[in-house]
Amino acid sequence: MLSTSRITVGYGHKVVLKDVSLDIKPGEFIGVVGPNASGKSTLLKTLARLLKPLCGVVYIDGRDMSRMTGQEVARRIGVVLTERIQPGLLSSFEIVAIGRYQYTDPFGRLTARDRVIIEDSLRATGALSLSDRRFSELSDGEKQRVMIARALAQEPSILILDEPTTHLDAKGRVEIMLLLRKLSRNKKIAIIASTHDVELAIRLCDKLIVCNEGIVKVYDVPEQLVEEGGVEELYGFNGELTFCKETLVAEPVVKDGGDFRVFVIAGGGSGLLVYRLLSRLGYFFVTGVLHKGDIDYTVARSVGARIIAEEPFREISEESFSEALRELQEANLLVYTSPPIGRLNQRNLELLSAGHALGLPIIYYARDNHIDIHLGENKIVHSISLLKDVLEEHRKKSLEKKGLSILKTE
């Protein structure tokens, strides 16, 4: 339907992307991702004929697009751009009606059929109730729905959108992406949308076009980009973010360091909120022994924790156990998140006793009120906010002590 063979896109003499070969089919929802200034917009503008390719040809239905009339292109391709429009007092209906440009008479008078298509377009984007409202008074998400309806009113077989989710909040972004996916399915139109939201694009798009450093790569299966570790490469996260392959989420890594060390005994999902709390508060923490593939393992890795790990479905080995023991001796505090205990992770209980024997302060964290094991006079907390208070108290005391000892030595 829309295809290119080795086109070069750019402005004037500046080449932005080279050797772009695409073949887009009806009903496909295609995400265009890449860092800022990687040429996403330039590529989309070229596909929409707002820019001429520096070399090569863009074909629509097998025909050279540059040889088609404006009307022929406008009846095939609808466009939504990033530029914010200020259409004065025009209503949403009037904006969408402008999309009928190539179908109306020289005075732009609407026929009954035009009206039906305008209303259908507004309905398809969930904007029918906005018809009579002034465009300038709509929210960003509503405006975007109207602009998509306007493009649909051109009755296109291809919809090209440049960052349609950029000005929107989290809910709006998801809604617009879902809407685009639905439109591609219901109307059998090809939808090509650039976005910064890789996480959403991987989840919702049929294919990904990845622009990076002058090169375009097409992923027929978005998951392949994750599999290849391409997302981190794409955004050059510099260790400040990690992309979690399991959850498809970019995770910020807090690197405050700090000399107050916490050891966390967790597993089976009992520790993940504790990890996030510790990471956010800037604690240095070690956790173990976790089995690889455990959700706690995944989250701990995402937030950049030091992990003592065991291979999946194996009993904790002597090796991992003694490593954990060594780390425990360095710790200032032990947090026990009451993980489910079975044959494979039994030795974590030994670790707990070892911590007790070392005289470490231990905090028992359990969401439910029931705590099986409780050694000594240590704190039990039932909510993460209480856990935070207790943690901070310990850290403060420890730092005060250290300050005192420094004073004495001086």
Binding site: I77, P87, L89, Y101, F107, G108
Partner: protein
């Protein structure tokens, strides 16, 4: 959903405003240093005036003058409206493209240098009209040419403003080296007035206006798409270059004919489109353009009547009148927020 024209009550406004025009004509031809009774004026309009003085005054002076004001105001209203949309700038008016400055320069040339260069009598109105026309035409042609290749409308706007400054600079040099008598002739022209309107020019103005009005209605549809943005317009298959050249050509044509007949008449082209958008509460150019023509003609004719009667028998510059009444109006409309 009803057609915009009905929905915004524009037809109502047209129905209210159009009958005002014959009333203004009637008032304008009756009021003056020689008062003519209304019945007599009506009779003259119907061609039953006879040969008396008041009939001659009406036919030779007052009627062409009010018709020129009506047609000129309409032309300025349309010109301002399309330029505001085109430049996406609510303070654009017909003179941003430099037409009046070009006109002024050539008139200054004819007045101040005419005798020494031997280009006819510098005090003859025909010399002035011709010079003004050539000046306006040259700037128009240049702007039309520029609009064909300049990419951004803002660049075009700046070119227009720059040309105005350039022409004004040259004009001021000519003024500085001229004598008082010639300066007076020139200043009188610069102040703008419909007082010199002759039937030849009135006919010319009206024909130009009708042509401009028809052309503007054809431009309304692409200008609506242009309101989104140039890229959007292009994505809908609109030939941007044709729209640019067409808009600048129409605006400079309409502005030129008015400027040649009356000199620069300020404020009409700025305020008439705003009033029209406010009245119709629409930005649809198919509504705003014709309404701007009607509003522009009414305001101009009233201002012209005021200009020649407020301090009878002296003629005041019409721009002074339009600005004194127009400025507060613009501010009120903008503060109310309904007009941009």
């Amino acid at each position: 959903m009803a057609n915009n024209f009905f929905r915004h009550g524009s037809i109502v406004w047209t129905a209210i405003l159009l009958p005002i025009i014959p009333l203004i004509v009637l008032l304008s031809i009756s009021i003056g240093s020689v008062s003519v009774p209304l019945e007599k004026s009506i009779a003259v309009l119907m061609g039953l005036g006879g040969q008396d003085v008041s009939t001659i005054i009406i036919n030779a002076i007052r009627l062409p003058r009010v018709l020129a004001a009506l047609a000129g105001g309409a032309a300025l209203g349309i010109s301002g409206a399309i330029l505001q949309v085109f430049f996406r700038n609510p303070i654009a008016d017909p003179y941003v493209i430099g037409v009046s400055s070009g006109s002024a320069l050539f008139i200054a040339f004819a007045v101040f240098m005419g005798t020494s260069l031997g280009i006819g009598n510098p005090f003859s109105p025909y010399t002035l009209y011709l010079a003004g026309f050539i000046g306006a035409l040259m700037v128009s042609l240049f702007m039309i040419f520029a609009s064909g290749f300049v990419r951004g409308v803002t660049t075009l706007l700046i070119i227009g403003v720059a040309i105005s400054y350039l022409a004004s600079a040259l004009t001021s040099i000519l003024q500085a080296i001229s004598d008082i008598e010639r300066l007076h002739v020139f200043i009188f022209w610069v102040m703008g007035s419909f007082s010199g309107a002759k039937w030849v020019f009135v006919n010319f103005l009206i024909i130009a206006l009708i042509a401009g009005l028809v052309f503007s209605l054809l431009l309304a549809k692409p200008l609506n798409a242009f309101m989104l943005s140039e890229n959007y317009a292009q994505s809908m298959g609109i030939n941007i270059r044709v729209v640019k050249v067409g808009t600048i050509a129409l605006a400079s044509f309409l502005t030129s004919v008015v400027t040649v007949v009356a000199g620069p008449v300020g404020f009409i082209g700025l305020v008439a489109p705003h009033i029209s958008r406010y009245l119709s509460s629409s930005s649809d150019n198919r509504v705003v353009l014709p309404l701007s023509a009607i509003v522009g003609s009414i305001i101009t004719a009233i201002a012209d009547l005021a200009a020649r009667t407020l301090m009878m028998p002296r003629d005041l510059p019409i721009t002074a009148i339009t600005a004194i009444f127009g400025a507060p109006l613009v501010i009120i409309l903008l503060l109310k927020g309904g007009a941009t």
